[in-house]
């Protein structure tokens, strides 16, 4: 766990202080036990549902989106009773991933699923969910995939304190427990069949619902939306997610996933013309869905091809009616694909809206330039600025960009110190290069210990000194 936490994955931060205190065991460092059984949750009334946690900011119950990095950006997770709208990328490559993460997280946490689609059979969607990374594998995978160190030491377990090794192992190894909030998934593997079979899910496949006789309704809702709303309302009512029959069984969360909402397959024409007849159908559906969600224990993810919607006004209204809005913008086919700044990424992720719940302000993160990257197994979100600095590090000598990064240093770009340093650096380098040419000296011979000792100010403190000994070896 220590190794994973130092890699900056953020998973470690979920271990809450509250539950650690409730256990009167050896150390406060230990991982929270599986909460699903509910044996050790003494006074914690709110966290009695698996896979949820209360928000620090507003006390609202949160569920994970299945992507811990996204959870963090959204202020800890997705609040129960709200809608997460994903604006699809142009070719719809990456948005289904977020959709599947959300559903897979529901299966792992034991939530009930409701999958609605007009394109694929929900059973097929479930088959393609990514496999969870088990607790013991997780560390290894994360080490490999997230922290891409080239050093051979990365395989060795980091040891922070030796005495903790002697303590008995508390972690439950096996099927990932719901003890943790938010899991990592391996998109190269499929979720185990038995997990799907054990889960409770409902599918809404629009073509199947067409067969039922068309009832003439007085309202202006498109047929597909109407059917879906009735379906959702039925499930919420029958399974008691609205709290109407709380005594019947344990409380659980309903996760609703709606794919490609607004696309022509749903029988909506907002993607085809700008001035369509039933342009209010989608917004009305969203409003009623919001009403259903707010009065029940459910959370909803919707992917929507907003780039297809002809009328920009509808997008603005849809955004106003959703709670959280996240936009994906892939680089495929755009100019940014060849931009060196973005060479490590597959697209940008825009956090467009974060809801204000029970509060005047929202948990808006300060970090804005976010990019995503689809690795072999993981979908990761990173700050583009990091990459920018990394590039800078390749341009400037090692250690120099560190100086630049120091906020209070006088070494800012464009300052006198900056240019003086660059000039002297360049002058030394040219002088050295010309000397090399003149004397025909081979590079490695200059790097003797004595001369290196005599080298000027020791600015560069990392491994590269060995790679380019000549630069440091210039006698003053």
């Amino acid at each position: 766990m220590a190794a994973a936490a130092t890699c900056g994955t953020g998973a470690g931060s979920t271990a809450s202080v509250a539950s650690a205190a409730s256990k009167s065991k050896v150390t406060s460092f230990q991982r929270r036990g599986p909460r699903a059984s509910g044996t050790d949750s003494g006074g914690l009334r709110l966290v009695s549902i698996a896979g949820t946690r209360p928000s620090v900011r507003n006390g609202q119950l949160l569920v994970s989106t299945g992507l811990p990095a996204l959870d963090q950006l959204l202020g800890g997770g997705l609040a129960v009773g709200t809608v997460l709208l994903i604006e699809e990328d142009k070719y719809n490559i990456y948005s289904p991933l977020l959709f599947k993460y959300f559903l897979a997280e529901g299966i792992i946490s034991g939530h009930t699923l409701l999958v609605a689609s007009a394109k694929e059979d929900p059973a097929d969607i479930l088959q393609e969910l990514p496999a969870p990374l088990l607790d013991d594998n997780c560390k290894k995978e994360l080490d490999e995939d997230v922290c891409n160190h080239k050093t051979p030491e990365s395989n060795v377990k980091m040891k922070i304190a030796w005495r903790y090794q002697l303590l008995p192992k508390m972690e439950q190894i096996g099927p990932v427990s719901s003890s943790r909030f938010g899991h990592y998934y391996d998109i190269s593997k499929r979720i185990p069949q038995e997990l799907i079979e054990a889960s409770n899910w409902h599918g809404f496949f629009l073509p199947e619902k067409r067969s039922s006789p068309l009832k003439v309704e007085s309202c202006s809702l498109t047929h597909g939306y109407l059917k879906l709303l009735q379906f959702i309302q039925n499930i919420i009512y029958e399974e008691g997610f609205d709290g109407s029959n709380p005594q019947k069984k344990k409380k659980n969360i309903l996760r609703i996933g709606i794919q490609n909402l607004g696309s022509p397959l749903w029988g909506d024409d907002i993607c085809c013309t700008e001035n369509c007849d039933n342009s209010h159908s989608l917004t009305k559906f969203l409003y009623l869905l919001r009403g259903l969600l707010r009065t029940s224990l459910s959370a909803c993810i919707i992917t929507m091809p907003t780039h297809l919607i002809q009328n920009k006004a509808i997008i603005a209204r849809v955004t106003n009616l959703s709670d959280t809005v996240v936009g994906l913008e892939s680089f495929i086919g755009s100019e940014r694909e060849t931009n060196p700044l973005y060479k490590d990424y597959h697209g940008l992720i825009h956090i467009r809206q974060i809801p204000r719940l029970n509060n005047l302000i929202c948990d808006e993160s300060d970090v804005k330039d976010l990019a995503f990257k689809l690795k072999r197994k993981l979908f990761t979100i990173e700050w583009v600025q990091d990459n920018y600095l990394r590039q800078e590090r390749n341009i400037y000598p090692p250690g120099f960009s560190y100086l630049l990064k120091q906020k209070d240093s006088a070494w800012g770009e464009g300052s006198l110190q900056h240019s003086t340093f660059l000039m002297s650096f360049l002058a030394k380098a040219t002088a050295f290069a010309s000397r090399l040419v003149r004397h025909g000296e081979p590079l490695k011979q200059t790097g003797s210990g004595r001369i290196r000792q005599a080298a000027g100010p020791r600015l560069w403190h990392d491994g590269r000194r060995q790679e380019a000994p000549g630069f440091l070896g210039i006698p003053p």
Binding site: N58, S218, C219, S220, L229, Q230, Q233, H280, T283, K284, Y287, L288, R290, G291, L292, R294, T295, K312, A313, I315, A316, R317, N320, L321, R356, L357, N358, N359, L360, I361, C362, E364, D366, K368
Partner: protein, 266 residues
């Protein structure tokens, strides 16, 4: 209720003006903090409030209200507040066909053009009590928000008609106030919304317009507020005064400062 905003507007709960229509408008930011302000302001001013809340649930307004020092639950119990929770009742209206007309009856209609039930609801809620002297000072109608009615299929003209009827009843007949929120769609070119916004700007006495910063997100300045008085409150005051302030929303209050005078910069 934010005391700083009261200072800017030169009002206090003790001496609230009457017969005014206030338009709240937000562009590229969220202006809902103004709704919370006016809700708590009028509750503290001992006015009878009818709140048509379409966009959020009751508990949300209640929790924020508690932070601002008013309890919506107790106000509702003692009859000071009439709360129409749009989200909750829309589901009921939509799924259960009731015989008696509901304020949000238009949800079931194919071509909703009629907000008459909603107006009847408002008039019934704010009707002065017949027995004895009035317990509350003046009636107030709050709507959060009018743009949503457009999303639900009501035409802009119908919404303007609704506002006109409400003005005639609440502002003129009952000498009360109205506060409505409308989103400015900005560059989205929402024609109907523009009609609504322009029509209301033409009618209202006070316009509070919040805008996001043109330079984008900032941690210490959340946006700027423009105050536009359409009519001078005193005959001597200059006409059409317009003021611009920047603001930062905090946990329980909002601080306002002149442009570029954020404490973080100084």
């Amino acid at each position: 209720m934010f005391p700083e905003l009261n200072n800017l507007l030169n009002i206090t709960p003790d001496r609230a003006e009457q017969g005014k229509l206030t338009l709240l408008c937000d562009a590229k930011t969220d202006g809902s903090f103004l709704v919370h302000h006016f809700l708590s302001f009028y509750l503290k001013a001992n006015c009878k409030v009818c709140f048509v809340a379409l966009i959020q649930s009751f508990s949300h307004y209640n929790i924020v209200g508690q932070k601002l020092g008013v309890s919506l639950t107790s106000a509702r119990e003692r009859g000071q507040l009439v709360f129409l929770e749009g989200l909750k009742s829309s589901v009921d209206v939509f799924f259960q066909a009731n015989e008696e007309p509901h304020p949000l009856q238009f949800l079931r209609e194919a071509n909703p053009g009629n907000l008459q039930p909603l107006f009847e609801f408002v008039r019934e809620a704010l009707k002065p009590e017949e027995n004895g002297e009035a317990a509350w000072r003046c009636p107030v109608l709050l709507v959060d928000d009018l743009s949503l009615l457009l999303s639900l299929g009501v035409g802009a003209v119908a919404v303007l008609d609704f506002v006109h009827y409400c003005r005639a009843t609440v502002c003129w007949e009952l000498k009360g106030n109205m506060v409505v929120l409308v989103h400015d769609s900005g560059d989205a070119e929402d024609e109907e919304n523009d009609i609504l916004l322009n029509g209301l700007s033409h009618q209202s006495h006070l316009i509070l317009r919040t805008e996001g910063l043109a330079t984008g997100f900032c941690r210490d300045v959340h946006g700027q507020l423009r105050i536009l008085w359409r009519r001078p409150s005193q005959p001597t005051a200059p006409r059409d005064r317009s003021l611009t302030y920047q603001y930062k929303i905090q946990d329980k209050s909002v601080s306002f400062f002149a442009k570029g005078m954020s404490p973080a910069v100084l």
